[in-house]
Each structure stands twice: as structure tokens, then as C-alpha cells.
Assembly symmetry: C2
Homo-oligomer: 411 residues x 2
């Protein structure tokens, strides 16, 4: 009799975004004329830039002629894309990588979920709180946890609270852990870690033979100098860190799908017999066997992001979103609302006014301002009393949303 993976049944039924969708639907059915502004899900809204569009079209034309047709590509991605990324996105940071250390994929969500394949279940995992829910849920699904408690914490996971007190950068765990998820610039809090902060984690990992999963999906939104864009800017990180990056937010690729994962050859883990093996080799085997590479035209489009023209155009779009972030942040602050993030990330993490719960604020914001955001508690217990607004909207909507919030909460 076929047996299913029972661990899936441990997952909480209501995933955050479906619940938000349900409440919006209820509201719009009752208020069909309300102009609802959505600053909830972190999805881009601006078109692809012209240089990317040109490369995308040209790549499709390659597929129309037998001489230039491309069938299966390398599972790891084309060298020309990998080399462009190393040259344009890593070398300027002083980070040198080999072609074999970079793996192109169709999404960071997939990669940061699939990476668990190459690790034993016995590893102790530490996750921030609040956190991007995929880190947590995928560990539940593979069977690394027990059941969830009343707060939503799963047995067996080490949660690292990120609060005002620690400036939203987690403290080192008290006990020993083997795998640590870090995300900077952070989703959902929009906060960043400086070099000293990341050095603390790299040193911990190297001292404890632990592995850091570093999610850098929002690095392109860093505006302040001195904030690291890659974990590999930290000495020793190439021995302990796997980095995830994505074209999704950087270049408006959420619907186009391209990302990358860096697994330096020096990153090791041990077998049950204590022998050290390079994780690069395992990830390469995983991708070769369970993945078939990213669409050829998509890889060509991704490469164009880093052309001279492409990057100038891409940077303009990022600046557009970051101007949105400034408008939201300063607008809320003017209304007396405490906010974090929004300087080096497209997310503003605000403290709910009057000590409201995250969901109460969600309902009030929806009902009274017709603005949608994301309740902080949806990202974990330590997110209670906070709320995420995304800067990915169109300017007009962002300005209107801020005005409505100011009318409601401004002095």
C-alpha cells in the first residue's frame, strides 16, 4: 500500500498569501467601488527593460533556424551567463568565483528548498523569526521537525528572533547548529547586516563546521556604501556559505524565472563516517539528475541585464522602486509610525500603530484606507505587531496609499 510523506500533514493549513487573498476578495465583494491598492505580495510591476527584451527576442530567433537552434543546455547553466555574472556581479565586489561554482536555476525559491536534498536529516537548522516561510516549511516537509506548537514554532528547529532589540539581526544561537539561514537585505524586515555582523556568522560557521545558506535576493536594492552585497565579501565565507541570488526582483523576472546559486568548492560537509566531501560535487549531481537547466531564451535575457545598457536601464527601475520605498518610509514616519527597512531593501517593516495586532492592522488598513499589506505575524511569531509594505507598486498608487494612511493616522 503506497504510503505518503506524513510530514506534509504537519504543515499549517492556511499559508499566508491565500489568507490575504481571501480577505481582499471578501472586502471587494462588499465594496465593489473601492479602489484597493496592493502593497502586499512582493511582486514587481515595472516592464522588462529594452536591452533585456531585445536579447530575449533574439534568442527566440536563434530557435527558428537549424544552424542556431539550441536543445538541452547544461543543467548548470550556460558558461556565457555564468561568466557574465562572475564578471559583472561578483568581481566588482572583490569576489572571485570559478564557473563550476555557479549554478543557474529557475528560481531562488526552488534552490533554497532543493538544497536540503544534499543534507542529512540529522542537521540542526537555525532560522530567523520572522522569516520567508519557505525556509521553515521545506524543513518540515523533508521531515526535520516535529509538530508545531501554539505559536507556530516547529519542534527541532532553532528559531532566532529578529526584533527591535537586536536591530533585526539575529544573535548567535546558544546551542550548536549545523545549518543557518540568513537573508540580507532581509525579507520581510528590509533591514541589512554590515560586514562585522556577517563576520560574526562566518566565524561561527567555520568554528562549528556549520553551513550558512545566504539569501541575497535583494542585494541589488542596497543603496548605502559599505553594506555587503555578497556573503563572500567576508573572509572565510567561501569555506562555509552557499549563496542564493535571483533575477526576480533585480530585473523584474518574477514571471520570467532565472536565479543562481553559488556553491564554492571549498564548502565541505561530512559523511556519517566523518569524511569531508565538497558540497559542490553533490549539488552538481543533484542538479544534473533532477533538473534540466533554464530556458535558453531566458538565460540570454538574463545575460543582457548585465550588458552596459541593460544594467543602466535595470538600475533605473531599481531606483524607481527605491524612490517608492523612500516615499512610503518618510510618509509613514511623518504620520508618526515607526518604520524600519526601505533604505537598502524594497520592504518597509512598520510597527503597527496603537499596539494593534498585525492582522487587526491588516483589516483596518484594508477597510479604512483600502490598502493591502502583509501582516508581520504571517512571517513568524516575532513578526507580531509588525507589518510589511512593499515598494514594488506603481508610483501613483504608492503616493495615494501613503496619503490615505496619513489621513487616517497623521496628526
Amino acid at each position: 500500500m503506497a504510503r505518503l510523506n506524513d510530514n506534509y500533514l504537519k504543515l499549517k493549513a492556511g499559508y499566508l498569501f491565500p489568507e490575504i487573498g481571501r480577505r481582499i476578495k471578501e472586502f471587494t465583494q462588499a465594496n465593489p467601488d473601492a479602489k484597493v491598492i496592493r502593497l502586499g505580495i512582493g511582486d514587481v510591476t515595472r516592464p522588462l527593460v529594452p536591452a533585456v527584451v531585445d536579447a530575449f527576442h533574439k534568442a527566440i530567433d536563434d530557435l527558428t533556424r537549424p544552424e542556431t537552434f539550441m536543445g538541452y543546455g547544461p543543467e548548470q547553466g550556460y558558461d556565457w551567463l555564468i561568466e557574465t555574472i562572475i564578471d559583472k556581479a561578483y568581481r566588482p565586489l572583490g569576489v572571485e568565483l570559478k564557473t563550476s561554482e555557479v549554478f543557474i536555476s529557475d528560481g531562488s525559491k526552488c534552490d533554497c528548498a532543493n538544497i536540503l536534498d544534499i543534507f542529512d536529516l540529522s542537521n540542526k537548522v537555525a532560522i530567523g523569526d520572522p522569516v520567508y516561510p519557505v525556509y521553515n516549511d521545506t524543513n518540515v516537509m523533508v521531515g526535520r521537525t516535529g509538530e508545531a506548537d501554539d505559536k507556530g514554532y516547529y519542534e527541532g528547529i532553532v528559531y532566532l528572533p529578529c526584533t527591535e532589540e537586536n536591530n533585526f539581526t539575529p544573535d548567535l544561537p546558544k546551542g550548536k547548529v549545523d545549518i543557518i539561514y540568513l537573508c540580507f537585505p532581509n525579507n520581510p524586515t528590509g533591514t541589512v547586516a554590515d560586514k562585522a555582523e556577517l563576520k560574526k556568522w562566518v566565524d561561527y560557521a567555520n568554528a562549528n563546521d556549520a553551513i550558512i545558506f545566504f539569501d541575497a535576493a535583494y542585494e541589488a536594492f542596497i543603496t548605502e556604501p559599505g553594506i555587503p552585497h555578497s556573503i563572500y565579501e567576508i573572509e572565510g565565507a567561501k569555506k562555509c556559505a552557499i549563496e542564493f541570488r535571483s533575477f526576480s526582483k533585480t530585473a523584474g523576472f518574477t514571471g520570467v524565472r532565472c536565479a543562481l546559486t553559488v556553491v564554492p568548492e571549498a564548502v565541505m560537509a561530512t559523511t556519517s563516517k566523518g569524511e569531508k566531501v565538497a558540497l559542490n560535487k553533490l549539488w552538481n549531481r543533484r542538479q544534473s539528475t533532477k533538473f534540466n537547466g533554464v530556458s535558453y531564451p531566458v538565460q540570454k535575457a538574463a545575460q543582457a541585464v548585465y550588458s552596459e545598457q541593460g544594467w543602466r536601464q535595470t538600475k533605473d527601475v531599481i531606483d524607481y522602486y527605491m524612490e517608492n520605498a523612500r516615499i512610503i518610509r518618510e510618509g509613514l514616519q511623518a504620520a508618526g509610525i515607526t518604520c524600519y527597512g526601505g533604505v537598502n531593501a524594497p520592504y518597509i517593516w512598520l510597527k503597527t500603530p496603537e499596539g494593534m495586532s498585525s492582522w487587526d492592522f491588516f483589516d483596518k488598513l484594508l477597510n479604512e484606507c483600502h490598502v493591502v499589506g502583509t501582516p508581520g505575524s504571517g512571517f513568524g511569531p516575532s513578526g507580531e505587531g509588525y507589518f510589511r509594505l512593499s515598494a514594488f507598486g506603481d508610483r501613483e498608487n504608492v503616493v495615494a496609499a501613503v496619503e490615505r494612511i496619513q489621513r487616517k493616522w497623521g496628526k
Copy 2:
């Protein structure tokens, strides 16, 4: 100390296609002037058809305007694509499916690997021999097996030999199994199963609460009437079978990436407590959490395969490959070589002349005819003494390859 997944170390070092690549590279470096014809890896060579190209371009143009821009799509795929597939690819077979039963993905390789996520390790798995190596290797990687024996059989897997004696369709297993992989038209043997044959398996699965993974990646190449294109043409299959289909071979999408998996709502597996749960729900959760959907322009291109014009053009390309298959099959037969397949599948499965081993024949064919094929033993022990040629080449190359083989082995 971070522990890796030891099961990866059980895998045989040389995955088939990299080893082939290595030998070709060695040969071409030593013989730079040789015109090597590759009929090895089953990769398409003909361009995308015009209707698909048009839709692909138009979808990219959608991404250039804010009003038509598409960000994150549904992880399960767009309804318009799913509905087109149900209407054009299943309804004509007499198979009715719900939109929620079809999941669009970036490849059947990924899907038939990832599907193991939702099953418990305790399931007994049966795999054909020879077989598409991914079925076997992914079961090793998740830890369902012990070590491999000298023949390459992993402890714990039930292998079902497919040989001349059983017409390359496996016999029912002697013991009870929980999961059965079936692939028809078959890769690598190019043979098919008729309705009676498939009925035998569906009845077995329903009688034993087992699940069939039905890989139908090559169904579009069936030329003979009466051969089932889908497992769901068999009564009772919707209660026990998950079907994988792909645009890769059907429409030349190996470099474009689009596939689909059907998980009917009636397919159940049991929890550790014996409760029955629909696998559709689990797969939906898996895809929602670990996948982010297929590129929007790719889905638009895939939909165009099933437009009236698109299908006519696509069918022409399939006919072109199947004419290649006829040329190879009849050409080898004329040279006195026994072959199977090539009538309802783009693969010809030949018996190596003079009782050579598969790899010896590979080397001889490469060195003396400058033709690349795939050693049958690479697909499993029962493939020893066989060899796979693919019909996906260009006509001129196929004709030249057959001539070279005839010069070498013909009477």
C-alpha cells in the same frame, strides 16, 4: 558539524551522458577533422515551428508594457494553458480532467524526480530494466536503497527486466510493490504497450493500492492506431496513476522547458495511521512551496503548440523524425542488425552485432563510423548487448550515419 546526504555517495560515479561526452571529447581532440554524427542523447534538432515562435515573441511583448506585464504566475501553471492541454491533448482520447489535476512544470525530468518528495521512504519501488536512469538514481538519492551490486542493481529496488523474451514489456512483479514506473513509448527501447498490457498494470495497482508513475513523454510519436497515448485511456487508471508529459520532444522544447504532470484527485495514498489522503493535495503543496511556476512566455509558446496551425506544423516535425526512424530501422535491418522500436517512438534499440558489449560497440561505432549512440548497458544490466540510436538528427546526418554503419557491417 554539517552532515551531507550519504545516499549520494552510493551513486555510480559516471552518469551515462557525461561519460559519453567525455569519450566524444577525447575522440574529437585526437581526430579534429572527423565529422562526428551524434545520434546519442535524445535531443531534438529541428527549429521551433512558426506558430510557437509567434506566440513566444508576443508574450515577451506583453512584458514590455505595464498594462500587460506579468509577474509571478500560479505555481501550478496558467489556467489557459492547462485548459488548452485538457481540451486538445486529453479530451480527444476520451479522457476528462479537471484544471486542478494538471500541473505545468519546467520538465518531466524534474517532475518524475520531485514526485518522490510526497512519498514515504518505506514504499517498495519497481523500475524497468533497462530504464531512464533518473528513475533509479533519484530513488537512491532520497535514501530508498542500499548499495549497488556488481551488476548495478541497488538493494531494495525491484527491477523488472525488459528483454526480447517479454517483448520489452515487463512482467508483473512477484512480490508486492507500492510504486511502479512505466514509460511507454519506452525510452530506451522504443517499444510500446497496448491497452491489454497497461490494463494488467492498472488492475495490479488498484488491487494492491499501488501507484503507477506513467511517463508518456513520447506519446506524440505513436503512429499505429490502438496504442494508448495516456494511461487514463485505461479504466481505473484515474484511481492509481500519475502521468508525466512533456513539450520537450513533442514540440522541440528541450531548450525551452515546459512539461506537465497529471495527478487525478482520486489517486490516494495512506498516512502512517492508515488514513487515505489525496496525493493531488500534497503535490499542490509541494509545488506551491518549492516551485515558482514556468516562465510566462514559455507557457504562451506551449499553448501555441495546440493551436490549429501550431499542431499542424508540430506534426510535420514529428513526421520528419519518424521518417528518420524508418530510415535507421530499415537501414540497419538491411545490414543484418536486429532492431526494435522506431515505429511508435523516435528510438531504435538494436542488438549489437557479433555479441559485442554495449560500450565496445559504442567505441567501435565512434572510432570507425564516427557515429555516436548510447550504450544499452548505460540504462541498466538488461540493456547489455543493446544500443540506442535516436531519430532526432537532421535527415542528411541520419542518412550518412546509416550508410557508414552499412559500409561497416553490411554484407
